[in-house]
Structures are given as C-alpha cells and as structure tokens.
C-alpha cells in the first residue's frame, strides 16, 4: 500500500473501525442475565456470547452494513476517507459525552446522524450536489422510522409475551419449590434466547461494518479486504466481550442474582425478535433503546412504578443524538474542507 496521506488515513479508519468492534463487545451487557441466573460458568458464557456476536457480525451484518455504508447515500455520492473520519470522530465524541452524562446513547443513531451532517456539508460546500440528492431520503426516513417503531414494538411484544407467560405458567405456580423448578427449566430457554439475541446484536452492528462497507464502496479497499476486515471485526467483538466486557457484565450480573430467568427470557426474546426483523429489513436500530422499552413493557405488566423523570431525560438525549451528531460531524468535515482535506 502506498503510504501517502490517504493510505495512512485508510489505515487509521481501519484501526478505528476495528476498535469500534472491540468497543461494541466491551459494552455489550446482554450476557449479564445469563450469568446472573447462573446458567453457564462466567468464562464459558463470555466465550459463547462473544462467539455468537462475532458470528452475527461476520455472517449476517451485510445488509445493515450496506445501508450505512452505501444505500443511505444519494445517487452518485460516495464516501471519501475524510467523510468517514468525520463520521467516526463525531459519533465517538457524542458517545463519550453520553457516557459522562450516564445516558445509554445509541451508537447507531450517532453514526447515522453524523453521516447526515457530513453529507449535507459535502453537498453544500464540496460535492456540487444538491442537498436534496445528497442522501437517499427514502432510506433515511425508513431508518429513522425504525428507531421509533423498534422500541415501541419491543414494548408491545414484551408486554404480550410476558402476559401470556404469566397466564399459562407463572400464575399457576404455588410454592417456592415449584417456582424454582419451573425457572430452572427456563434457564435453558434463556440460554438459547440470549445467544440468539447476541447473534442479532452482532448482525445489527451497523456503525462498525458500515465503515468498512463505505471504504469498500468508495474503492479504498477491495471486496476481499472488506470481508477480511469484517472477519477481523468479528474476532475483535469477541475479544471485546471476553477481555473488556467482562467487568460490566460481572457487575450487572451480581445485581441480577435475584432476577427470575423467565423475565430475562422474555426480555431477550422480544429484543432479539425486533433486532432480527430490523436486520432482515437492513435497518440499523439501537439495541439499548429496544431493551429499555422492553423493560418498560415488563414493568407495565407487573404494575411497577416507572421513573418518568429518568425516562424523560433519556428520551431527550435520544432525540438530541441525531441532530447533535449531525452538527458535530458537519463542523468537523467543514474544517477538513477548509484545510483542503475532502
């Protein structure tokens, strides 16, 4: 590879993309339910979960990756390395702000918002493209619509699945032994549902695979290299869970020892159904938003009080993610253009 500025930046983007895969694994909390319920030994659970996410990312993420890496762009528009760099810097910065504020922000929303900002600036100042043609607005609208619909359906599916489970099983249990026995059987279903959910978490990790699809689509890397990098991402998402995710997972799992496997089963099944449908439709959605609404659905069934203030605060950040990431990425790309880097 010719090591000019473009080559160096391509390598930088590849490193950032792979780091993103590592951080997806490091922040994945799905396994906590499984470990909290004591279904598998800790290290074995991490390996199984990591393998499932990696599998999903390598074999099932192409549709979502293509949406972020190519289909969301307007006709004839391709990513440049600086555009992708601006997208990555902006989405990472916004995620760090979210972490400091203690809000589970969506990296998907952040990435798509950044793409939007970069493309608008590109069309206005660089590409000579009408902003109306800079993006595939139909696709973008579908993606944004899916962000509203996926949490809503997550809530609805959880609500009804849990109602059914209560009506036909849980309400019939009389003593602690019977409850324990039934829940013990459910832990195997929980194992299947968590691994299933992990596959679709990996498959819907658009922000990572999308970057490589963008590089491939713009001709910066070959199709063989694209697949090699996706496989490397799959390996790194596994490593992320195994080496870095273990701390978050252990911490959460220790708070979940009282949780019933039946509850985890419904939560994970509902969220994985939503993720699977979204992935088949090539729509990148936020797993954390879906799971938060699934928990709300479960709380509604149990008549638990919902902390409206906390939900409201979260919703504000969720709504702000897209425009702020767009503005941030737009500004970064604008400065690149000013410096002659486009």
């Amino acid at each position: 590879m010719d090591l000019n500025l473009g080559g160096i930046l391509t390598i930088l983007l590849i490193i950032m993309g792979i780091s993103l895969a590592f951080s997806i694994g490091a922040n994945d909390e799905t396994l906590a339910t499984l470990i909290g319920a004591g279904v598998l030994k800790f290290n074995f659970a991490l390996m199984a979960g990591g393998f499932a996410v990696g599998f999903g990312m390598v074999f099932l993420s192409q549709g979502v990756g293509k949406t972020v890496g190519a289909d969301i762009l307007g006709p004839g528009v391709n990513y440049s390395i600086f555009m992708l760099l601006a997208v990555l810097i902006s989405s990472i910065a916004w995620l760090i702000i979210g972490s400091l504020a203690g809000i589970p922000l969506s990296s998907t929303h952040s990435t798509v918002g950044s793409i939007f900002g970069v493309l608008i600036i590109y069309s206005l100042f660089q590409g000579g493209v009408n902003p109306a043609n800079a993006l595939n607005y139909e696709k973008l609208l579908n993606v944004v619509l899916s962000w509203f619909l996926s949490p809503f359906f997550g809530l609805v599916i959880t609500y009804f699945l849990f109602k059914i489970l209560i009506k036909f099983f849980l309400s019939k249990l009389k003593g602690l032994n019977q409850i324990e026995k039934t829940e013990r059987r459910m832990k195997w279903l929980l194992l299947i549902s968590v691994l299933f959910a992990e596959i679709w978490v990996g498959a819907n990790s658009a922000e990572c695979v999308g970057i490589f699809y963008g590089l491939y689509n713009s001709g910066s890397i070959s199709s063989t290299n694209y697949f090699v990098f996706v496989i490397i991402c799959g390996i790194f998402v596994f490593l992320g869970i195994y080496f870095a995710g273990r701390f978050v997972i252990r911490n959460l799992a220790s708070q979940m020892t009282n949780a019933r496997p039946s509850e985890g089963l419904i939560l994970q099944s509902s969220s994985s159904i939503i993720l699977m449908i979204a992935t088949f439709l090539a729509l990148p959605i936020s797993h954390s938003h879906v799971i938060v609404f699934c928990i709300l659905g479960m709380n509604m069934v149990q008549d638990k009080e919902i902390d409206k203030k906390a939900v409201g605060k979260m919703a504000i950040y969720w709504f702000l993610t897209f425009p702020i990431a767009a503005i941030l990425a737009g500004l970064i790309y604008f400065f690149f253009i000013l410096g002659g880097l486009y």
Binding site: A37, K174, L176, R184, T257, R260, Q302
Partner: protein
C-alpha cells in the same frame, strides 16, 4: 439425651428437607422450653432442669446447620438461594433466643408470688406454643404453597397481638407487687416475661418475613 443423626442421613436430605428438619428441632426445643416453664410454675425443679438442659443442648442443630450451609453454598438454586438462607437463619434465631432464655432461667429457681401470676404465665405460654407450631407449619408451606404460608403467618400475627396485651398485664402485675425491686424473684420474673416476649416477637417478625416472601414470589398470581 438427644439422638444424633448420621452424616450420611443428612447428606441425602435436600435443602428444603434440611430446613424442615431444623424447624422441627427448633420447634421441639421451644415446646420443651414452654413445658419447662410450666414445670417451674408447678415447682417441679427436677423436670424444669431436665427440660431446660434439653433446650441448651445444640449439637444436633449445629450438625444440620453445617450441612445446610455447605449444601446451599454449592447448590444450583438460582434466585431463591439468599432467601432460603435467610429463612434458615431466622429459624436459628428462634433457637438462639430460646437457648439464651433457658440459660438465664437455669441460674435460679424461683417461686411464683401467687396463683394468678402462674395462670397468666400459662396463658401466654399457650399462645407461644400456638405460634411456635404455626411458624413450623408456615415454614413447611414455603416450598409447597406460599398462599397457605401467608395465611398461616396472618394467624400468627393475630395470636401475637392478643398475647402482647396479656404480657403487659403480667408485667403490670409484677411491678405492683409489694416486693423489693432488686430482689432475685422480681428480676427473674421480669426477665422471664421479657424473654417470652422477645421470643414471640421474633416469631412474629419471622412470620412477616415469610409474608414478604409470599408477596415477592407470588407476584404473578
């Protein structure tokens, strides 16, 4: 003299069965304590000593407790592990309070001031016996039927409510005797009534904990 149980016998028992066996032993010990107090009112000191020495003997309980602790530590029980451990420790507290009371009562042989006092002691003893039998029943219902456990605990609370008034009547009677308030008899009887109150209060608190468990686990009913 108590008969020991073999390690092999205990090994075969489940966590639930060990809890029941432990509860039965503690109940038996409480009933012996009550019977001992009855012997004291009858001034049958030999039988009184025999009963209270039975109460302070703990080898069998320790054997079951150790087996339970080792089993629950290794057990594959999921979410109920901590609750089961707490139930066991609350049963153990009944034993500890009974043992403490028995040790104190063995320090001296009291002669009751009058027949009314003896009768009132017998009345609260009967209530203590009822709640001890009911808590044993409630503990056994935890595994099989939490609704029944809850209802049995409600009966314990009702009985305890009635008992409390009698205990204060008894204390009032004691405080109004023409007696030296630093005398051994006064102090002994005061400790006796307060000890019974403490034991009954613990059983009542335990029954409330069982009701908490019923509410927690029967959330979907």
């Amino acid at each position: 003299m108590r008969m020991g149980v073999t390690e092999e016998d205990l090994e075969k028992l489940t966590i639930d069965e060990l809890t029941h066996r432990f509860m039965d032993l503690v109940n038996e010990s409480t009933l012996k304590l009550i019977e001992g107090i009855e012997h004291l009112t009858e001034e049958n000191f030999e039988k009184f000593d025999e009963n209270l020495n039975y109460v302070i003997e703990t080898s069998k309980e320790i054997q079951i407790k150790k087996k339970f602790e080792s089993k629950i530590f290794k057990s594959k029980l999921m979410f109920s592990k901590a609750d089961r451990l707490k139930v066991f420790s609350k049963i153990n507290d009944i034993k500890n309070i009974g043992e403490f009371l028995a040790n104190k009562m063995l320090l001296y042989k009291v002669v009751f001031p009058d027949e009314e006092f003896k009768q009132e002691i017998s009345t609260i003893n009967s209530s203590l016996k009822i709640i001890s039998l009911k808590i044993t029943k409630a503990v056994k219902f935890i595994g099989s039927d939490l609704t029944k456990a809850h209802d049995t605990c409600e009966e314990i609370k009702d009985e305890r409510r009635g008992m409390r008034k009698k205990e204060f009547d008894l204390l009032k009677r004691l405080w109004n005797y023409d007696m030296d308030y630093l005398s051994r008899t006064f102090l002994y009887l005061k400790e006796l009534v307060e000890g019974i109150m403490m034991l009954a209060d613990h059983i009542k608190n335990f029954s409330e904990y069982i009701q908490f468990l019923s509410t927690k686990y029967l959330i979907f009913r």
